[in-house]
């Protein structure tokens, strides 16, 4: 019984993590039909930058903040430079371009992060370390024992902090002016333009916001798990499933789907092993796509 409860908490934590990534894909796709296949890479990048800063002797908070700023900045550059051509095209063409650009970005960043960049011959500051192994931001959080269940402290932090991030996100979208403008574009781009909202600027803002959330999710996740460069594409595929099962345009759907899939995957992991669990996850996405294809087109 205690084991089941512990697995449920771990599953919930994984679910919240997936929900944060799924929301990122959903927001960007809902706003501008760009399917961000690089979102998992942003998640991993945040972890790597944080470990890099932490290596310099900084604490976890400073490391996390530094990492989030770097990821947000890279997100801004990616949006302005790489996504603009996609937004200039229309319909199916735009979706295809978005897929290939973000896919290429994933492949590029993965290769780049594994190798690092050493330009110290030219300038001493330009040294980006290589990240060939697995990394975590373990803070040796204590385990909590509740009624016989030994629960990982890091899982509780992921759930609590993740819930706060999601709440802030909802508050931002429902209550603030920029958030309302965002939802206007979501619902009716032409109408939004008529009332003076610039969709392109909203898209930039939301893209940066989504990769920031993905980065935060990564840092939370790395408190209790190892993350490597190759985890990036895996996170992306999970987030994609969450987004598909959640309906691609619905935030509440993405959150529900994330938590559901996190639980299913973690329990399946326990009972039938990780390989079958992953097959179940992707299988669920296929079944869902076949059952409700209108969700994504």
């Amino acid at each position: 019984m205690g084991t089941m409860a512990a697995i449920a908490i771990d599953g919930l934590a994984f679910g919240v993590f997936l929900a944060l990534l799924g929301v990122g894909i959903t927001l960007v796709f809902g706003l501008g039909e760009v399917l961000n296949l690089a979102i998992g890479t942003f998640t991993v990048m945040a972890v790597l930058v944080a470990t890099w800063v932490a290596r310099g002797g900084q604490g976890i908070v400073v490391s996390a903040l530094g990492a989030i700023l770097v990821v947000a900045a890279i997100g801004l550059v990616v949006d302005r430079v790489l996504l603009s051509p996609s937004y200039r095209s229309e319909g199916e063409q735009r979706i295809l371009l978005g897929i290939f650009t973000t896919l290429g970005l994933t492949v590029f960043l993965d290769g780049f992060l594994i190798n690092g960049l050493d330009l110290s011959r030219f300038a001493n500051v330009l040294v980006i370390p290589a990240f060939p192994a697995s990394y975590n931001l373990s803070q040796n959080l204590p385990t909590v024992t509740v009624g016989g269940a030994v629960i990982q402290g890091s899982s509780l932090v992921v759930i609590a902090a993740g819930a706060v991030i999601l709440a802030v996100l909802f508050f931002f979208l429902r209550r603030t002016f920029v958030g309302k403008a965002t939802r206007t574009v979501f619902q009716d781009e032409r109408g939004a333009q008529l009332v003076g909202v610039n969709p392109r600027r909203v898209r930039t803002l939301i893209f940066v916001l989504s990769v920031t959330v993905a980065g935060l999710a990564g840092i939370l996740w790395a408190l209790g798990h190892n993350v490597s460069v190759s985890s990036g594409f895996q996170f992306t595929t999970f987030a994609l499933i969450v987004s598909i099962v959640g309906g691609v345009r619905s935030l509440a759907g993405a959150i529900t789907a994330g938590i559901l899939l996190g639980l299913v995957n973690t329990f399946a992991n326990f009972f039938v092993g990780s390989y079958v669990a992953t097959v179940i996850l992707f299988g669920a996405a296929i079944v869902f796509l076949l059952a409700k294809p209108e969700a994504i087109s």
Partner: protein, 341 residues
């Protein structure tokens, strides 16, 4: 019109001549490097990826069905050939056909469902991407059957006696076998696009609603393209691992096969006959230069290439060259050649 005359009239002489020319170049290519198993491997790699790209050209280029489970389909061919031969003791050349037919069946089902339900290209790509992830997960996870990430030596498609009789290595024989396959696949492509299929494909690409309103059976044509392409992926998949003499789940991963085949096809030129071969030559040559100089930057450079190609160079090398030839011809006051690629 009889079938025979329809086929002969359907194949434009110039395109066939170009295919033969390319085949001749590729047939002579191993001679200067004979005995260097490394360069023979490089050439075989070129031919194999050219075939993958022709298959993608059929299904994506001609009918807009973006199959992103090319690696998975190739794996069905690779694993299927070996496992069926091991289980049943049947000759691997027969199990190769069976495995390729299984891959074709999967392609058929995916195409049929997608076409029947009018899935968009994006939906097909995401659906097949999920299939790809399931398949590779199974190749790695079903250890009892596939021996998981340890893999196993792959020596199924052998040519007993041929190598000794001619006095060359098995690898060279495999290369020429792959080359024959490539020519066959290219001719199938040429035949398809120049038959009534090609006309139907064109109409469907333009507007499938309009195509069906003038009596074109959209579902049937898409299914034919999907099935033929999936068959080729399965067939070539076995040749692909035979060339490596070893099979591993990672050989069929999305980033190993699908991304590379996409780059090959787009570099060479979507919907051109020889684009896949030209693209494969360019990509393989780039790989060789990269391996020699900055091995570890392979992935980063291919990522950048993918972005750049899709944003700025979607027409590909073959159409660009054809345009160049045209404009040179025009400068000389000659009638421009038909883009023949």
């Amino acid at each position: 019109m009889s079938v025979a005359t329809r086929v002969t009239t359907a194949l434009p002489r110039e395109t066939v001549r170009n295919v033969v020319l390319v085949a001749a170049v590729l047939a002579l290519a191993p001679l200067p490097v004979l005995g260097s198993s490394y360069y023979e491997g490089v050439l075989a790699h070129l031919v194999i990826f050219a075939m993958f790209a022709v298959a993608l050209n059929i299904v994506f280029g001609q009918t807009d069905q973006l199959f992103l489970f090319m690696g998975g389909l190739a794996g069905i061919g690779g694993y299927g050939t070996a496992l069926l031969a091991d289980w049943t003791g049947v000759n691997p050349w027969i199990t190769l056909l069976v495995a390729a037919l299984v891959a074709a069946l999967l392609g058929l089902v995916v195409s049929w469902i997608s076409a029947r339900r009018k899935f968009t290209v994006v939906l097909i790509s995401i659906l097949t991407l999920n299939l790809q992830l399931v398949l590779v997960e199974i190749y790695g996870g079903a250890r009892d059957i596939t021996r998981g990430s340890t893999g196993f030596p792959y020596d199924y498609l052998s040519f007993p006696g041929v190598a000794e009789a001619v006095g060359v290595s098995e690898d060279v024989v495999l290369y020429y076998f792959a080359l024959v396959l490539l020519v066959a696949v290219l001719l199938v492509y040429v035949w398809l696009v120049n038959s009534r299929y090609g006309v139907a494909f064109h109409a469907i690409r333009e507007d499938d609603l309009a195509a069906s309103s003038i009596g074109i059976d959209v579902v049937r044509y898409k299914v034919v393209a999907g099935t033929v392409a999936a068959f080729v992926f399965g067939l070539v998949g076995a040749v692909y691992v035979q060339e490596a003499n070893y099979i591993l789940p990672a050989d069929f991963s999305f980033l190993t096969v699908d991304v590379l085949v996409l780059i090959v096809l787009i570099v060479g030129g979507l919907r051109t006959t020889l684009g896949p071969v030209v693209g494969a030559a360019i990509v393989v040559a780039m790989e060789e230069i990269l391996v020699a100089n900055f091995t570890q930057w392979r992935s980063a450079i291919f990522g950048l290439l993918l972005i750049f190609l899709f944003l700025y160079f979607r027409s590909g090398v073959v159409p660009a060259l054809a345009d160049l030839v045209d404009s040179v011809g025009a400068l000389r006051g000659e009638p421009g050649d038909e883009p023949s690629g």
